[in-house]
Amino acid sequence: MKQKQLQTLLKSPATWLSEGGEESELVLSTRVRLARNIEGRTFTHCAEASELESVRAEARDALEQAASMKDSVYLDMNETTDRERLILSERRLISQDMVKRFNNRGLVVLRGEKLSVMLNEEDHLRLQSFEAGLALNEAFDRVSRLDDELDGSLEFAFSDQFGYLTACATNVGTGLRVSAMVHLPGLVQNGDIRKVSDGLRHVRLNVRGSYGEGSGVAGNFFQISNSITLGLSESDTIMNMDAHIRKVLEFEKNARKSLLKEARSLLEDKIWRAYGTLRNARVLDSREAMGLISAVRLGVGLGLITDTGLSDLNEMLIMIQPMHLQMLYEKVMGPDERDRSRADYIRSRLKAS
């Protein structure tokens, strides 16, 4: 494989991380994916190696013809190391499942990582796009355009009644999953986060703590996504989600306002202490670092901290993950050494800016 291509891809952060975008103080990123399968072929989890192989080749050919995927890199997962796949998953380009089950899987990534396609994951093709900030329409348009380009060279499994047919009944219909990564320190602080996530579940949206190693919510980051894919058109799904997410953002803004009003000095103290720790600590585990970055992110959002920016902090959230740190320092590190390197890296980032 083009080892060098993978290295170049991974060395620079994804462009969508640092582009800002609408509501970027509260929304890190938007992700949209479409699940597609090829008519007449066995779904991935039941298919033999030879069939997976030919599905992958067919999909790859079609992707090479697609105008949207010009200037992209193809990765044969069989030729990647465990380490490389873990890095790809930290960047959210491949799923955790694909880290473990990689035989006859593949990935095609557009430079800048705004658009990518997983081959032979749960479905034959998983088209996904990322945008900075809240940009549901932009992300959908991008991925839908690629879908249109592929339709024609590939015959997608579809039924008039059930829509796009998928390996799991939960994705059938549009095959569309829209998610936004939101930062809600205000709602966590005032305790309303539970109410908000219950409310979202009522309108059939999922809320999940995010960016954590293992379980538990770290850094007040949450992922909001739709759960229904059948009986609701793509445009309605997006319109509904956009409205609900904006409502959540309004709650968060109000929470921040009242925190400032009622406990200004306490809040400011917490933010400045976090900033001080990040700029001076010598050992930081992942969880602590995320909590501190979250507080500083809030400080930037409130206009208290001006000498670092959201895009720096967003990039840091990716780079302080275990595999990225080891890539950055070009060596294999145990947890203790990683915690030291994490602190070093953050210090250097915050000094330079």
Partner: protein
């Protein structure tokens, strides 16, 4: 329903484990789920297998359930009912009514609205889809006794039908 563990909070997570003939039900609140390690369960097995297993309860007699399989890929009904996972696109036909029931439970309905591949975008298909959407609207209008709107919808549907026949 209260949480089985703390007995205080409302249970918001309901797990049904089916192992062989053994059915185990767990009702648990968010807090206890986190402390008792059900949170991991939720991420992996629970959403995919435990949770979805409960969705397929067939009306088919036991014997037929054992023997039924997809003619195209060979996936058995038993495997499908365990995880709501399909083997190939033809399974959607092979498992007939059960699929429809499962989809209704997951999504609240079993009728696709939205994009379709170009090969399906003929005028006739579009008209048929439009008619189905209008029929849904008509039912709602009748339910809320908005007969004026219902009459308009009925006429529109009739026009579309006529258009399809003459084309």
């Amino acid at each position: 329903m209260k949480c089985q563990f703390c007995g205080k909070n409302d249970a918001t997570i309901h797990v049904t484990n089916v192992i062989g003939n053994d059915v185990q039900k767990i009702h648990i609140c968010q807090d206890c789920a986190e402390t008792k390690g059900f949170d991991n369960l939720k991420k992996s097995n629970f959403e995919k297998n435990g949770f979805l297993a409960g969705l397929v309860d067939s009306s088919l007699p036991e014997k037929e359930r054992q023997e039924r399989r997809c003619g195209h890929c060979g996936r058995t009904y038993a495997a499908f009912s365990k995880s709501a996972g399909l083997g190939c696109s033809k399974c959607y036909d092979s498992f007939g009514d059960d699929i429809e029931r499962v989809l209704k439970r997951i999504h609240g309905n079993a009728r696709h609205l939205g994009k379709s591949p170009r090969r399906y975008c003929t005028e006739k298909v579009n008209a048929r889809r439009r008619i189905r959407a209008l029929e849904d609207e008509l039912r709602i209008s009748v339910d809320v006794e908005n007969y004026e709107r219902a009459a308009r919808l009925r006429d529109e549907i009739a026009d579309l039908r006529k258009g399809m026949e003459t084309r």
